[in-house]
Each structure stands twice: as structure tokens, then as C-alpha cells.
């Protein structure tokens, strides 16, 4: 009766390739119970004899995992479509399938290969591994695993946090275009504008509109909620700022985790010429009022 610390576990991150045409015949021959949610996956009809041959070619140890995967595909209690936009370019999509209502039970990641003929399956020791995987993937496109850094927030706070990150990114891009240092502080008014903008424009290259479609309902955020959220995030250690201040800074580790498109934070871009870099370096850091940002012509104004 061994009890393992999850940190000590050798996580089973092996990927299994399952011919899509084998799934339905195997579910039938194994008498697997299917539920309505499982019908979403819509497996093609396949040849039973081929499916059996494929199954028998698998190692017995793999058959144990594969059988669990098949039953999960047939009777999921939870399916989460997960899309990860890396930078402005790479969109990774997968589906988390969970067969158990118990929170920390294993789950499967399900995707397809490029040809669409095979399912790509990975068994996750728990959904927590998935949360860690997302953060690590955003950071470096690394393989699944446990992240050291995690936090839990309510939906409002999450949305405001994303809007803050969008704002931070905009500031970064503006600083690149304007050959200026980046403003480290973010005004609450700007955060609110960022929320409204994210809700208005369905551009998935920004975090708020990327996330809004998967929320159970379109959020109706009032001023109070937006003003309170940064305070909560400050208590969680995600933002810094005084007790009653109206400007916040992102914690550096959050900037690094959630802004993979930036290789450096507030420094001059690597490609900038020496003279430009010298100019930026010489320029004093200006704590701007939101209105001064609005004057900029190079990007969407706030």
C-alpha cells in the first residue's frame, strides 16, 4: 500500500498512437459502456479484425493504459477543449478527457496526428499536471510536467488578470515601436479599457478574447469588480502595488511565465542599433498618465 508524493512520481507522459478506425470496433468487442458525452468524439466505423490485430500487437502493459483510455473516451464525465496560442502564431489544440468525478484522478489528453488517422493519447496522473503543462508550454513549449508556479482565481479576477497581461504586452509592443523603455506600472483605468476592448474585439491573439469563448457566459463586469480584482491579485502575489494605489506592476515571474513572446522585459530589443539603444538607455523612465498613452498613433489607443 505505497503512498507516493506526486513530485516523486515518474509521470507517465508516453504518447500512445491509436488508429481512429480501431476505436469503435474495440469498444464494441470489449463491451465498453458509452455515454452521450462520449459521442462527441465520433469515432469512424472500422474493421473489427484489423482492430483486434492492432490490439494484440500492443504490449500487455500498454494494453492496461490503452483500455483505460478507451473507457475514458467512451464514458467521459468531463471533456475540456484546450487551445494554446503561443505568441501570435502557433495554436495548439487538445482535449482533456476525464472519466472520474474524483478531482485528482488521472485524465487523458486526446488529439489527432497530422493525417487525422490516429488518436494521440497521453495519460496524465492528474488534471493538475495539465495545468502545469499549460504554464510550462507557454513558457518554453516544453513537455508535460508539474509546474512550480500555480494559482487559483475566480473568473472575474482571472479575466482582469488577463486584461492586465494584455495591457502589459501592448505596453511592451509600444515601447518597441517608440524606441522607449517600457512603463512598468499599469493604471487601473487602462486595465478597465483593456477588459472592455477584449470583450468587444474577438481577436484570439490577445488573451481576453482568446478566453472569453470558453467562459460559461459572457462576463458582465462592473467597475467595482474590476477595481477589486487587482487588489485580490496583489494578495495572491501576482501583482505588486500599495494598499490603496491605482497602479500595479506584474510580478516578474508572472511576466516571464505568461509572456513568452518577450525574450527580455524592459530592455531595448536585441536588434536595435547601438545608437538607438544608447538613446533608450539615456532616456529617463517616465511614469505616464494614461492620457499620454492615448496620444500614441502606432497602435490601438487607450
Amino acid at each position: 500500500m505505497a503512498v507516493k508524493n506526486i513530485d516523486d512520481q515518474e509521470l507517465e507522459m508516453r504518447e500512445y498512437l491509436v488508429p481512429r478506425a480501431a476505436v469503435q470496433p474495440l469498444l464494441t468487442s470489449f463491451s465498453v459502456v458509452c455515454n452521450r458525452l462520449g459521442e462527441v468524439l465520433d469515432h469512424p466505423k472500422g474493421d473489427a479484425a484489423q482492430a483486434t490485430r492492432w490490439w494484440q500487437s500492443q504490449k500487455p502493459d500498454d494494453q492496461i493504459i490503452l483500455r483505460q483510455a478507451l473507457t475514458a473516451l467512451a464514458s467521459p464525465v468531463l471533456m475540456s477543449d484546450i487551445a494554446i496560442m503561443r505568441g501570435d502564431q502557433g495554436l495548439v489544440q487538445t482535449t482533456l478527457v476525464k472519466e472520474s468525478l474524483r478531482e485528482d484522478d488521472p485524465a487523458f489528453l486526446v488529439g489527432t496526428d497530422e493525417g487525422g488517422e490516429n488518436l494521440r493519447l497521453r495519460r496524465l496522473q492528474s488534471p493538475e499536471v495539465m495545468a502545469g503543462t499549460i504554464l510550462m508550454y507557454l513558457e518554453a513549449g516544453s513537455d508535460p510536467g508539474l509546474a512550480e508556479f500555480k494559482f487559483e482565481v475566480n473568473p472575474t479576477e482571472f479575466l482582469v488578470l488577463l486584461a492586465t497581461l494584455d495591457l502589459h504586452r501592448r505596453s511592451y509592443l509600444i515601447s518597441l515601436l517608440e524606441h522607449e523603455e517600457m512603463r512598468p506600472s499599469l493604471k487601473l483605468e487602462d486595465v478597465q479599457n483593456s477588459v472592455n476592448d477584449g470583450l468587444e474585439y474577438p481577436d484570439p491573439r490577445w488573451l481576453v478574447p482568446f478566453v472569453v469563448p470558453i467562459l460559461p457566459e459572457k462576463p458582465q463586469l462592473d467597475w467595482n469588480a474590476i477595481w477589486q480584482a487587482p487588489h485580490c491579485s496583489r494578495y495572491r502575489g501576482l501583482l505588486t502595488g500599495g494598499t490603496w494605489c491605482s497602479a500595479y506592476r506584474l510580478r516578474s515571474r508572472l511576466r516571464l511565465r505568461l509572456r513568452p513572446w518577450s525574450s527580455s522585459s524592459d530592455r531595448a530589443p536585441a536588434g536595435a542599433s547601438r545608437s538607438i539603444r544608447a538613446r533608450i538607455k539615456a532616456k529617463p523612465l517616465v511614469m505616464e498618465h494614461p492620457s499620454s498613452v492615448r496620444r500614441r498613433k502606432t497602435t490601438k489607443s487607450y
Binding site: 507516493k4 512520481q9 507517465e12 490490439w55 483500455r67 468525478l101
Partner: protein
């Protein structure tokens, strides 16, 4: 051979197996009783038979059906467990050396017990079969644990009707020693971390010498409580501790409450069965 095997494939496999096993026992006896070295041909034939028997057991283990038998009321998962549904002469039912695959079960699995009502004469097999009594029962000492629930269901085994009873729970490990799996002489399954859990109910660990204290005691102390059985399922069903699945329900929907429960007051022997060579005996020791 198909996976799972068909009834015909199983029959052929078992017939070959039992024939080889009988011949191997004859040769074994011959080798054991021969004065001096046994003839080389006999030894070679015996080795060959042993290899074939081992291969046949592997083939049986790989292809014995793993069927939906229950559903966990905590995780909502359908529970798939191996079983030979074609008859009691399958190696799965061998109480001494059951041939079963590694069972991957819900994380809440505690143990599976069962009952089996004979629908015809039991099949003849060269091993003892202990399928439980003829009517389902519960173990009060386990089921009364606040974090434990059980589920009774029905599965056909050849002409017979079997009633597996799965126990599920969380946080039970310190309080409960799981009993041996239904029909087997051990308890085992693969947990969610991929660790194979194994136990033999009632066995004393080699490192544990506390049983010596019992031998040295003056007899005034109470004896260790052993598990008992309770055939009165109504109380447990009404308390919501025992859930049930309608016989033949392909969705394995969990049902609660005594109303419509087909498992209450079933006819049949309440003495545990021991089936030897196609004959049902009363397994009195097991019941006690």
C-alpha cells in the same frame, strides 16, 4: 484467437489445457516414482507439456473478458473487471491458482466479493471453485465504515447467475483490511499510480510478530473481531450504503432505495459454496 476469446475458442483452449495438465500430472508422478533417473523421453515430454501449459495460461490471461460489472458511486466510473462468463470451469475461477489479468480499477476500489446461484449442475473442473453463497451478502464491518459504499449487480456465468458486490470508498485504508477478491485466494489490483497492490486476507506478515502476543495472552482479552456476513440487504439499501444495478441494464445506472430492488430476499443457499469436480459442497469454514 480473438480478444476477448469467444466461447468456442475458450472451450478449445480449456480442453487442450486440461488434457495436457492431466498428462503432465501422470508424467510428474512417473518421474517422481521412478527409481534412479527417469527416461529422457519422459522428461522431455514433461518439459514440453509444462511450456505448453504456461503458454495456455498466458493466452487465457490475455484474452479472458474484462467486462463492465459495476459502477463506482463516488467517481461515477463504470468498473471493468475480468471474469470468465462462460462457466465455472474457466481458469479464472480456480480458487487456488486463479488466472486473471492485472485489474485496473477505480481509485476508490476496496474489494469485490460475490455470490453465485447455480442454474444447472456445476461444470467439472480439476480445481476448487469458491464462488460464494447463492445469494448476495454484505460485510457489515466494512460497509459500516462512514466512507464506504457497495454496489451489487448481476452477471451471467454460463447457466448460472452471479452477483458481484464491489466496495468503494476513500480514506479507508487505515481501518479496513480488504478481503480476497471474489473467487480468488488473494486481493490485488493496479492502483491509479500504477502500483500493483497485493494482499492475502488474514495472512500474517513475516515482519509482524504481534500474533505471538495473542498466543501468550491468558485468554481474558477479547478475541480479534473477524468479518461477518449479512444477508439482510434491505437495511443497507435503505440506508443508502448499498446501491444496486438493475439486471441487464447496459448503462450500469446506479439505483438507490429498496423500492424495486431485485436483490432483496432472493432464494438460494446462504452457505458458501465449494465446487469440486462438478459437485457443490458447503464450504463451512469459509462461512465461519
Amino acid at each position: 484467437m480473438n480478444t476477448p476469446f469467444t466461447e468456442k475458442e475458450r472451450r478449445r483452449l480449456l480442453d487442450d489445457y486440461f488434457r495436457d495438465q492431466e498428462r503432465a500430472e501422470e508424467l510428474d508422478y512417473e518421474v517422481a516414482t521412478t527409481v534412479g533417473d527417469a527416461p529422457e523421453t519422459v522428461v522431455q515430454e514433461l518439459d514440453s507439456l509444462r511450456d505448453r501449459l504456461a503458454d495456455a495460461r498466458d493466452l487465457y490471461r490475455l484474452n479472458v473478458p474484462v467486462l463492465p460489472l459495476s459502477r463506482c458511486p463516488i467517481t461515477g466510473q463504470v468498473t471493468y473487471h475480468s471474469i470468465d462468463p462462460y462457466g465455472l470451469d474457466g481458469l479464472w475461477w480456480d480458487n487456488q491458482v486463479p488466472i486473471r489479468p492485472v485489474e485496473a480499477l477505480p481509485s476508490t476500489f476496496i474489494m469485490v466479493l460475490g455470490a453465485l446461484r447455480l442454474g444447472a449442475s456445476p461444470e467439472k473442473a480439476p480445481f476448487p471453485v469458491r464462488p460464494g453463497p447463492e445469494v448476495p451478502y454484505v460485510v457489515p464491518e466494512v460497509l459500516s465504515h462512514p466512507e464506504v459504499k457497495a454496489v451489487v449487480s448481476t452477471v451471467k456465468v454460463g447457466p448460472h447467475t452471479a452477483y458481484p458486490v464491489f466496495y468503494y470508498g476513500v480514506g479507508w485504508e487505515k481501518d479496513i483490511e480488504p478481503m480476497n477478491n471474489w473467487g480468488a485466494n488473494y486481493w490485488s489490483y493496479l492502483d491509479r499510480d500504477g502500483d500493483l497492490r497485493y494482499n492475502v486476507y488474514g495472512a500474517v506478515p513475516v515482519s509482524d510478530d504481534s500474533y505471538l502476543e495473542d498466543l501468550e495472552s491468558d485468554g481474558d482479552e477479547d478475541e480479534d473481531e473477524s468479518y461477518t456476513v449479512d444477508y439482510d440487504l434491505r437495511r443497507w439499501v435503505e440506508e443508502g450504503k448499498l446501491l444496486w444495478i438493475e439486471p441487464g441494464d447496459q448503462t450500469f445506472t446506479l439505483r438507490e432505495g429498496a423500492s424495486g430492488c431485485p436483490y432483496l430476499d432472493l432464494p438460494g443457499s446462504r452457505v458458501f459454496s465449494l465446487i469440486v469436480d462438478g459437485e457443490r459442497l458447503e464450504d463451512v469454514d469459509e462461512e465461519d
